[in-house]
């Protein structure tokens, strides 16, 4: 049975949706939500490659996001670097850090791996808070606008098109990766590491590669997010933010690219709805996490996909 989400149709549908969306968005506020959704979706697609497809866990991904964000902020504000160069530098630095810790961390499994990634994320967060001379500490810092080759990006409309294009690109990359030998190797690692090994997959190298890839992606999005919002505070690299990303992966659907987008949509809009009820927002996240993992452990999109494929005659 042809599953429309799996083929290029899915990308085409997404492209169409992104192109047509501005027609229904009434004002700048909605554009803002859409941009934030796109930022989250890109990070979550990367995180899902690591968690859903390769079966690893990362409870510290916001750390990488924060590294990119602060790298861009510091290099542009305090050293006057061009934004694109700062973004690239942040991505490279994050990639190197991820590469450095990947091998020892990814040898671990289950809750040990969860704990190690958690620890890494929190260490990054604490460093950001403490080095206030660079980062402005708990009070945060301002970030200048983003620019490409001298052309400055201002306003929600320009950012929307940039993020829409980026989301489309990331989705396309992810779908291509999954339907390839490298992608199958990743999924095999999740299914049975020993079987993957016996088939010749270099399990450690594969895990490291996908870890670094998702870290770099988070860093790039962190940089872009910093420029877009114009202001940074250490919370972007904190444990809570990492849990938000994980929630989006898990609710939308592990091992599902479109699930990640879905998860990002739902869980980015949720705080907007509950913005005046801070405690309730936390409760809502917690309850959603538990209910989804108990009743829909595969997440929304894969569960729906299964229901629809069973319904076919």
């Amino acid at each position: 049975m042809m599953n429309i989400f799996k083929s290029n149709c899915g990308v085409a549908v997404l492209a169409a949706a992104l192109a047509l969306l501005p027609l229904v968005l009434p004002n700048a506020f909605y554009y803002d939500v859409a941009i934030r959704i796109a930022i989250n979706a890109c990070v979550v697609i990367g995180l899902n490659l690591l968690m859903g497809y390769t079966g690893q866990i990362s409870l510290g991904h916001a750390g990488f996001f924060g590294l990119g964000a602060y790298a861009s902020a510091i290099l542009t504000s305090r050293f006057g670097w061009p934004p694109m160069v700062a973004l690239a530098a942040g991505a490279v630095a994050t990639g190197l850090l991820a590469f450095g810790v990947a091998r020892p961390i990814l040898k671990l499994k289950g809750h040990y791996l969860a704990m190690a990634t958690l620890g890494l994320g929190i260490i990054i967060s604490i460093v950001i808070i403490n080095e206030s001379a660079w980062t402005g500490g708990p009070d945060g810092m301002q970030v200048g606008p983003f620019g490409l080759f001298g052309f400055e990006l201002n306003g929600e409309h320009m950012w929307y098109w940039l993020m829409a294009a980026l989301l489309l690109l990331v989705t396309w990359f992810a779908l291509n990766l999954i339907d390839s030998p490298a992608g199958r190797a990743l999924q095999a690692i999740h299914g049975s590491e020993i079987a993957a090994r016996v088939a010749g997959v270099d399990v450690t190298a594969s895990k490291v590669r996908v870890f670094v890839l998702s870290a770099v992606l988070a860093s790039v999005l962190g940089s872009l997010s910093a420029h877009y919002v114009g202001f940074l505070s250490p919370g972007v690299s904190g444990f809570s933010h990492s849990i938000e990303f994980v929630t989006m992966v898990v609710v939308g659907g592990m091992a599902s690219v479109f699930g990640s987008i879905f998860g990002a949509v739902i869980l980015t809009m949720l705080p907007q709805l509950l913005s005046t009820f801070e405690g309730w927002e936390t409760v809502a996240f917690g309850v959603i996490l538990m209910l989804t993992m108990i009743f829909l452990p595969k997440g929304l999109v894969p569960t729906l996909r299964l229901k629809f494929s069973k319904a076919e005659p």
Binding site: I126, V127, L289, M293, P297
Partner: protein, 291 residues
Amino acid sequence: MQSQFLQFLFSGVTVGATYALAALGFTLIYNASGVINFAQGEFIMLGGMGAVFLAQAGLPLPLAIVLAIALAALAGVLVEKLAIEPAGNAEVVTLIIITIGASLTIRGLVQVFLGTGNHALPAFSGEAPIAVLGATLLPQSLWVLGVTGIVVAALAWFFGRTRMGKAMLATAHNKLAAQLVGVNVRFILLLSFALSAALGAVGGILVAPINYTSYDAGIMLGLKGFVAATLGGLGAGMGAVVGGLLLGVVEAMTAGYVSSAYKDATPFVLILLILFFRPQGLFGKKGTDRV
């Protein structure tokens, strides 16, 4: 010099005792169900916050403390019944996320109903510091260490000498075998969660007069408790206690001699080192997988 060292040692051991209690809680639940309970920190917080608010509501302190512990134990039972049990034999990732969800729920509810302020309990026997060898020791610290010692001894007696305790250990080693000899595994699981929550709550209450407690005090305490449990070796009771005390002392020494700003990073650097070089902890055993 020596008095400064002693000062750090005292404060380290005091907070280390709380970590030890939290670590014991983690170990208990891990042994009984294989689950790492990320909500453990919230039980600690419930103890402290519960006691504070019950005392403020007019209850005499001892009663407030007992009730708070009971409430935490109830929360533990609820988490097991409503979150862990329905999940059945889910994957490790799933269970971790469920307990994270439970912790968020508990924390959020406390935030909504009890607010975000900082609170402290009155010290159990006054605040006059005691001079020891040139350093000062808070009377509360003696309470912390004393009660923790009693609790650990009680647990050792429970697991070593009582039928219920031995049944719990049996369940930890092999659930099916325990069931086959008539152990009510369901009940054991509930008991472990309740006991674990109570342990955490005791720790939270003991330390509430020294450190302020608030709705989000549980996050760090829980995580550090997990670090302590891993340090000592997940599943080793003795290890949990040693791990907790060790962590407390290392943290205090770092704060004193290296940098107080990075004090909170110590447990996480420690856990990365432990996981990289000796994942089974100080007292745990290395395992191999049968293929």
